[in-house]
């Protein structure tokens, strides 16, 4: 039995027939062709599927699409014109903070949330905020450096 879900993604309203147990992650990837958010563990542990829901980072693999009416979902694609998103993109490239890249969309969404809250976040704050984003290439050091650098450029 399908249910109609109302989902607002990157400021666009969608009405889609989904199964009641479909997650936001599967709807993003398989129905809306937004493949930035990645399916890693499907358990909320790895962070590769992180999106913003009403500006707060959450796991799209643990959100049911049919339970998100009235919420604004922002994916990595929705941050392409965002000032903090652009600063992060630039600093990640400059710092070489990407290896295989699988975790990076989720990492950027978490990074955007911490810099939005506090562009002057300390390295310790950044490490805490990023503790839920696993990078199996273990490129953490450059990721943290890139976020701190973007923060410094946003709030010199």
């Amino acid at each position: 039995m399908s249910v109609t879900c109302e989902l607002t993604v990157n400021d666009v309203n969608h009405r889609i027939a989904v199964d009641f147990a479909d997650t936001v992650l599967s709807v993003l990837r398989e129905r809306l062709n937004l493949t930035g958010a990645k399916r890693g563990c499907d358990q909320g542990v790895c962070g590769a599927c992180t999106v913003l829901v009403d500006e707060k980072p959450m796991r799209s693999c643990l959100l049911l699409a049919a339970n998100c009416a009235g919420n604004a979902v922002t994916t990595i694609e929705g941050l392409s014109e965002d000032a903090i998103g652009r600063a992060l993109q630039k600093s990640f490239v400059e710092a070489g903070a990407i290896q295989c890249g699988f975790c990076i969309p989720g990492a950027l969404v978490s990074a955007r949330a911490v810099l939005k809250r506090n562009p002057g976040a300390s390295v310790d704050d950044i490490r805490k905020a990023m503790s839920g984003n696993l990078c199996r290439c273990s490129g953490y050091r450059k990721i943290v450096e890139a976020i701190a650098k973007a923060g410094a450029e946003l709030a010199p």
């Binding site: 249910v3 643990l62 049911l64 339970n67």
Partner: protein, 282 residues
């Protein structure tokens, strides 16, 4: 192909009616635990009752001083709450050590304790604090002491047609409280955790998490600790008592023997910190 329905009740009463009509229906709050279990194929509900519109959120101090925590309060709200001071700090610290920021933004205290993962952070804190769990069903409300709520692995005193609607914390809370977790990495479930509080009058209450189907708690051990809060020896001895009462298992995180070994050591450290916290207050 999965099939099922999701209901969207607008208040607690409507949710309770839906749960009473379908004993297979599962309530869903933040989804942080339930959807993970659904994704893993551990539960396959035929119906979900969304609690999204239910306004049981936040903290309210009653006339008698009891603090009521709404079941839909998110972990990040508890981790930052100005209400969770003194001995109640052990609940605040437990909330702050759950998973990571995205999970703390999603999960709720009512949802977490209803699914009752034995490695989760709230159970030990609620038992140490002598919290009461408020359960509602159509036409009935009851409270269960936290020490009797966590019955077995992933099993609580909640009936299928009941909802956890709130958590009640005792009025008296002057003192200090802490929560410490031994885990493989930040945000993981506990290998062993300890929740402890020390009242202004010197009464100690501790509970151990991650070492069996529910928190390990003993009034006799609390009495030993309260009689002599000063010496490491008495804490070590009390810790041995708790280790004997614990029923840990070997799993991917640690062996049962290791868990038993760690309990007294964590307790000695916790008592030192509680004493130091009390001296700061005096």
């Amino acid at each position: 192909m999965k099939t099922g329905v999701i209901h969207h009740p607008q208040n607690t009463e409507e949710a309770l009616v839906l749960l009473a009509q379908d004993c297979e229906a599962k309530p869903i709050a933040g989804g942080a635990s339930l959807v993970a279990m659904m994704n893993a194929g551990l539960v396959n509900p035929s119906a979900l009752v969304s609690l999204k519109a239910i306004a049981e959120v936040g903290f309210h101090t009653r006339a008698d001083g009891t603090l009521r925590v709404g079941a839909m309060t998110r972990h990040h709200q508890s981790a930052e709450s100005e209400y969770l001071t003194g001995m109640r700090n052990c609940l605040r610290a437990a909330a702050g050590s759950i998973g990571n920021m995205p999970v703390r933004n999603m999960g709720t205290i009512g949802g977490s304790i209803s699914l009752s993962d034995p490695g989760a952070d709230y159970p030990a804190a609620l038992v140490a604090l002598r919290a009461q769990i408020e359960l509602r069903k159509v036409g009935e409300i009851r409270t269960v002491p936290a020490s009797e709520f966590f019955i077995d692995w992933y099993t609580t005193a909640r009936e299928p047609d009941e909802l956890v609607t709130g958590i009640l914390l005792p009025a008296a809370h002057a003192g200090t409280g802490l929560y410490r977790k031994l885990a493989r990495v930040s945000g993981d479930f506990a290998i062993v955790s300890i929740a402890g509080c020390l009242s202004e009058e010197g009464a100690v209450s501790v509970a151990i998490g991650g070492c069996g189907p529910g928190p390990v708690f003993s009034e006799e051990v609390n009495a030993i600790l309260s009689t002599d809060i000063v010496s490491d020896n008495s804490a070590e001895q009390a810790g041995q008592g708790l280790a004997e009462l614990a029923d840990p298992v070997d799993d991917v995180r640690a062996t049962a023997d290791y868990r038993r070994l760690v309990i007294p050591r964590l307790l000695v450290q916790a008592m030192r910190e509680l004493r130091a916290g009390r001296e700061t207050l005096q």
